[in-house]
Every structure is written in structure tokens, then in C-alpha cells.
């Protein structure tokens, strides 16, 4: 007989300590949302896609800084105007759309399909808490996707600036509000469509495809309809949801990249702001109508 003692049953201990309630539960959902989207504590293949996109996004920011540095060193004051913060959104938003197309279904679809909603709703949580926490997780991830490379770029440009670090920072203080506001516009317009697709479609891949295809098909439909010789055809320009944030970006940064459908149809740039809000409200209504009857 062995002399070593072996614990075969630890029994059961009750829990009489602190409970954090709804707020604690919502924090847990947000944290778990980050993990799911970024593939943390998951198998390696779940990490590949999101981290590739993050890497590309950061790389573009570093390339921008490099271009500015090379131009500054080689050409000095005669250097041409290089693309800046506003233009970076154009490049980064292409990758961000892919990120949103992946993240929104990853956050919502498996909980429904795998029946995990039953567990959430057996806890001290309401459906609205669950959805709010999921949207918060998506917002933090997507806004970080837009903002972190911009912050890196801002610091990089400040370092390589011929004016000196502090002078450059001081001269570009407006960036501190413009970039977050434009990032919010990109998030709101794109996430509204992505979340709606994720709420309605029971497969992650199909939901991503529906979002990705949907916003570009709407662009095409909007272009076709606005060309019709019919009264009120110009309002079809507002079907081009994908263009809203870019119009807002041009308006905020006071730049003129492309003449977007909204502008071609005779609307002011600011009209993209209420249009974005309207899309977000419509998406909220559809998603709530879907989820209030679940599970």
C-alpha cells in the first residue's frame, strides 16, 4: 500500500463572496468578444485572419511614416504633399471592412447556432444587455482597428517631422478629434450593415459574404437608380451606405478625394451624417426585432 495520500474527492464549497451583477456579466461578454474575434485562447487557425488584417493595417501606417521620412530627408521643404490622415482612412477602411465582415458574425452567429444564448439568458442578464455588450465589443475592436494605426502614424510623423516632435504635435492638434469622429462614422455605417447580416443569417461565412456583397451591390444599385430620369431618383444616392463615411471623412478633413454619389446628386456633404444615424437606427430595429423572440 502506498504511503502517499491521494485526494479523490474535494467535495463542494459554496460561494459566499462578492457578486458583480449585470455590469460584471456585461464586462465578461465584452472581454470574451475580444477573445473570440482575435482568436485568443482558441486554436491557431482562428488567430490567422484577424491578426493578418491587423498586421497589414499597421504596416500601411508604417509605410506612410516611411514615405514622409524619405520625402522629408531627400526633398526637404520642396517635398510634395503626401497622403495624410484623411487619405489613410481610404486604405485602412478596405481592410477594416474585411475585419468587420469577419468580426460581426463571429460575435453573434455562434451563440445562436450553438445554443449558447440559452446559457446567457439563464444568467442575470437581459437580451438588451447581451446585445449592448456584443456591440460594445465590436465597437472597441473596430475603433481600435482604425485608431491604433493612426496613433502610431501620428507619433511616427511627429518623430520624423522636420519641424520637430512637439511643434508637429502642436500644429496637428485637430487630428485628436477629427480621426476619432471619422473612425466612428466608418464604424457606425459599416457595423450597422454587418451586425444586421450577422443577426439574420445563421452561418458566419454567409453573413460575412452578405455584408460584403450587400454594401457594394447597394453602391451599384444606387448609381443605376440615380441615373434614371424619374422624379426623386436623386434620393437613391442614399442607398450607397458604403460611401457615407467617406463623404463624412472628406467633410471633416476638408479634402476632396472623389465626387461621391451623394454629392453628385446635389446633396451637401453633411447629409451623410443623418443618413448614417438613420441606417444605424434601422439596423437597431431589425436586430432587436430578431433577437427579442430568441432563444
Amino acid at each position: 500500500m502506498s504511503n502517499r495520500a491521494v485526494i479523490v474527492d474535494r467535495g463542494y464549497r459554496s460561494y459566499d463572496e462578492e457578486r458583480l451583477g449585470r455590469r460584471g456579466a456585461m464586462r465578461a461578454i465584452v472581454k470574451e468578444g475580444f477573445r473570440r474575434v482575435l482568436g485568443l485562447r482558441r486554436k491557431a487557425r482562428r488567430k490567422l485572419f484577424p491578426w493578418s488584417l491587423i498586421g497589414i493595417s499597421a504596416a500601411i501606417a508604417f509605410i506612410f511614416v516611411g514615405l514622409h521620412w524619405v520625402a522629408g530627408v531627400a526633398l526637404g521643404p520642396s517635398a510634395p504633399d503626401l497622403p495624410g490622415y484623411g487619405e489613410y482612412f481610404d486604405l485602412n477602411s478596405g481592410i477594416a471592412i474585411l475585419f468587420i465582415a469577419f468580426a460581426a458574425p463571429a460575435l453573434l452567429v455562434p451563440d445562436r447556432v450553438e445554443g449558447v444564448l440559452n446559457i446567457y439568458l439563464s444568467r442575470p442578464l437581459r437580451m438588451v444587455d447581451y446585445l449592448a455588450a456584443k456591440i460594445a465589443a465590436l465597437a472597441i475592436l473596430v475603433l481600435s482597428f482604425y485608431l491604433v494605426p493612426q496613433i502610431l502614424m501620428h507619433l511616427g510623423l511627429s518623430v520624423v517631422s522636420t519641424e520637430g516632435f512637439l511643434s508637429y504635435m502642436g500644429a496637428n492638434l485637430d487630428i485628436l478629434w477629427k480621426v476619432p469622429v471619422v473612425a466612428l462614422a466608418y464604424f457606425t455605417a459599416h457595423a450597422a450593415v454587418a451586425v444586421t447580416a450577422a443577426a439574420l443569417i445563421p452561418r458566419e461565412g454567409f453573413a460575412a459574404g452578405a455584408f460584403f456583397g450587400g454594401i457594394f451591390i447597394l453602391n451599384g444599385v444606387a448609381e443605376l437608380l440615380t441615373q434614371l430620369d424619374v422624379a426623386g431618383a436623386k434620393y437613391a444616392a442614399f442607398l450607397a451606405i458604403e460611401e457615407y463615411p467617406r463623404v463624412i471623412r472628406d467633410w471633416i478633413f476638408d479634402i476632396d478625394t472623389v465626387d461621391y454619389l451623394v454629392e453628385q446628386s446635389g446633396f451637401e456633404q453633411w447629409t451623410a451624417v443623418p443618413a448614417t444615424v438613420a441606417v444605424a437606427l434601422l439596423a437597431t430595429t431589425v436586430v432587436w426585432a430578431r433577437y427579442r423572440r430568441l432563444p
Binding site: R10, G11, Y12, R13, S14, Y15, E17, E18, R19, L20, G21, R22, G24, A25, R27, A28, I29, E32, R36, R41, R42, K43, R46, P110, D111, E114, G115, V116, N118, I119, Y120, L121, S122, R123, P124, L125, R126, P295
Partner: protein
């Protein structure tokens, strides 16, 4: 304090009535909820958790009105759903810890509890494996673990032994039995009556959305009659007992006698003496839970 108090509960899915005028009062302990598929068991459990809103009726869980304090009720109740409810891409430890956090436990406490509870359900070695790689038996254990990880006062188990092989089923019933020892009350739905007989001390029988019987298990198993095997003149004894108002059914030499007016044993003794019959055996007629389930409603022993 009653574990559950339900009054005139009715719920319909469109034209289909899932529960009709259900009234119940269930004490603490291990309670079995038995009924055929579609009897309304899952609907009742979901209503008790506030996941479904009944058309009418009042519900109290652990002394709290469900309609007014659903979140408070849920913080003190655990739920093990019947169907799939686990994310395939998480490990058992991560998921059970997350389930504890969803019930409001701080992160460190949630991790500690997850580890303890997975040990308790026999999954300590497998806790870092992904749930998508688990067998049916292991999945059922994880489902039970997430239901009790936040130390609930009551746990609602919806068909916990479904899909398990005989050994897995025995293990699961053993775990359910142990929950009672830990001070956790259990409401356990199943359509397998022997599972209830093995684990519960109170039973509620549902049939087509109505309560067929409800009461302590012992009382449901015993009918108010006696069985005796007679030596000699069976017909004479039957006639003698029937003349005195007893209800007698005979199968060969075996009689089943019940008598509402007076002591049945005394009556049988007098009958045996009067007809000069002997007996081989005599005892209280017992009915299995399964037989009780199929008894006509008017013979309801509850």
C-alpha cells in the same frame, strides 16, 4: 419556504397549448418533472427562468416573484438546457469560468470555481481540451458544471441524462443525487421515470400541459389498498368483501382489496375468518411510479 409556487399558469405557442392552468407548490429538495415528450416540461423550466413569458399565471421561485425580480431569481438559479449550448472553440475551463463570470463572479473567483466544479464532475484532466472535441457524456458534465459553477440555490436540469450510455447515465444520476447533499435543490425534467425513482424525493407529472399528479415520491408509489394471496375459497371471500363495500379485483388466487370506509386490514381479517380461508401473503399494494403515471386521474394518489 417553497422552492416553486405556480398558480394558474397557462402558455400557448400560437394555437398549441403548452401549459394549461398549472398550479403547483414544490418544496426544497430533489424534484422530478416527468412527462412524455411535448408534455410541457421544457416550457415550464423556461418560464421559471423568465426566458418565456406566460400568457397568464403567477410564479414564485425561491420565494421571489418571477415577473418582478427575474434577474435576482436567475442569479440564484442554475440551468442546464437539454440541447446543444456549448461553444465548440472554447476549452472546458474557459467556458465554465466564463459562465461563472456571467453570473457575476469576479474573474479570479470564477477561474477557481471553474476548476473546482470541473473536478467535481470528473473533468479535471480534460479541462483544457476544446469542447468541440468532447464526447456526449463529457458535454453533459460540462453543461452540469456551468449550471452549478456560481453556487445556485436551485438548479433546473432539462433531460440531463439524455443521449448517455448506461454507465454515463448512472454517473450523471449520481452527480444529481450529490447536488442535494451540497444543499442545492434540483428540478430535474425527464421522460424516463426510473431516473426520477433513483434521484428524487418529490415528483411532478405533466401530461399534455396539465399536472397529472404532484407529491412526495413515496406517496405516489403507494395506493390505499392491500394485496393478498388466498388459500381456499377465493370466490366466497370476494363475495363477502364486496357485500361490505370493498372494491376487490381478483387474478387467480391474488386479490387486490381497497376499502374507503374503515381499516382494510381489519376487513380482510374478518373476511378470512368468516370464509375460513388461509393466506400465503398479505401486504400493502404498491405501485411503481410508472404505473402511477398511467393510472386514471380519478385514482390520483396525490
Amino acid at each position: 419556504m417553497a422552492l416553486l409556487k405556480v398558480e394558474h399558469l397557462t402558455h400557448r405557442y400560437g394555437d398549441v397549448t403548452a401549459l394549461e392552468d398549472v398550479t403547483l407548490e414544490v418544496p426544497e429538495g430533489r424534484v422530478g418533472l416527468v412527462g412524455a415528450n411535448g408534455a410541457g416540461k421544457t416550457t415550464l423550466l423556461r418560464i421559471l427562468l423568465g426566458m418565456l413569458h406566460p400568457e397568464q399565471g403567477a410564479i414564485e421561485v425561491l420565494g421571489m416573484p418571477m415577473t418582478r425580480e427575474p434577474l435576482e431569481v436567475r442569479s440564484r438559479v442554475g440551468y442546464m438546457p437539454e440541447g446543444a449550448c456549448l461553444p465548440k472553440d472554447q476549452t472546458a475551463a474557459d467556458f465554465v469560468g466564463y459562465a461563472a463570470e456571467l453570473a457575476g463572479l469576479p474573474v479570479r473567483a470564477a477561474r477557481r470555481r471553474a476548476s473546482e466544479i470541473l473536478f467535481l464532475v470528473g473533468l479535471h484532466e480534460e479541462r483544457f481540451r476544446f469542447l468541440g472535441d468532447f464526447s456526449t457524456g463529457m458535454v453533459q458534465r460540462v453543461k452540469l458544471a456551468q449550471a452549478i459553477v456560481h453556487d445556485p440555490e436551485l438548479v433546473l436540469l432539462d433531460e440531463p441524462a439524455s443521449g448517455l450510455d448506461p454507465e454515463g447515465r448512472e454517473d450523471m444520476l449520481l452527480l444529481i443525487n450529490r447536488l442535494g447533499e451540497f444543499g442545492i435543490s434540483v428540478l430535474f425534467s425527464t421522460h424516463i421515470i426510473s431516473d426520477i425513482e433513483e434521484t428524487c424525493d418529490w415528483v411532478v407529472m405533466l401530461d399534455a400541459g396539465k399536472v397529472l399528479r404532484a407529491g412526495p415520491l413515496g406517496r405516489l408509489e403507494v395506493r390505499d389498498s392491500i394485496t393478498l394471496e388466498v388459500l381456499g375459497d377465493v370466490a366466497g371471500l370476494v363475495a363477502w368483501l364486496s357485500d361490505r363495500g370493498a372494491s376487490v379485483t381478483a387474478q387467480g388466487q391474488v386479490l387486490d382489496v381497497s376499502h374507503t370506509d374503515g381499516d382494510t386490514f381489519d376487513l380482510v381479517r374478518d373476511g378470512l375468518a368468516a370464509t375460513e380461508s388461509g393466506i400465503v401473503r398479505l401486504g400493502v399494494a404498491s405501485t411503481s411510479l410508472e404505473e402511477a403515471f398511467f393510472l386514471p386521474a380519478e385514482e390520483n394518489p396525490s
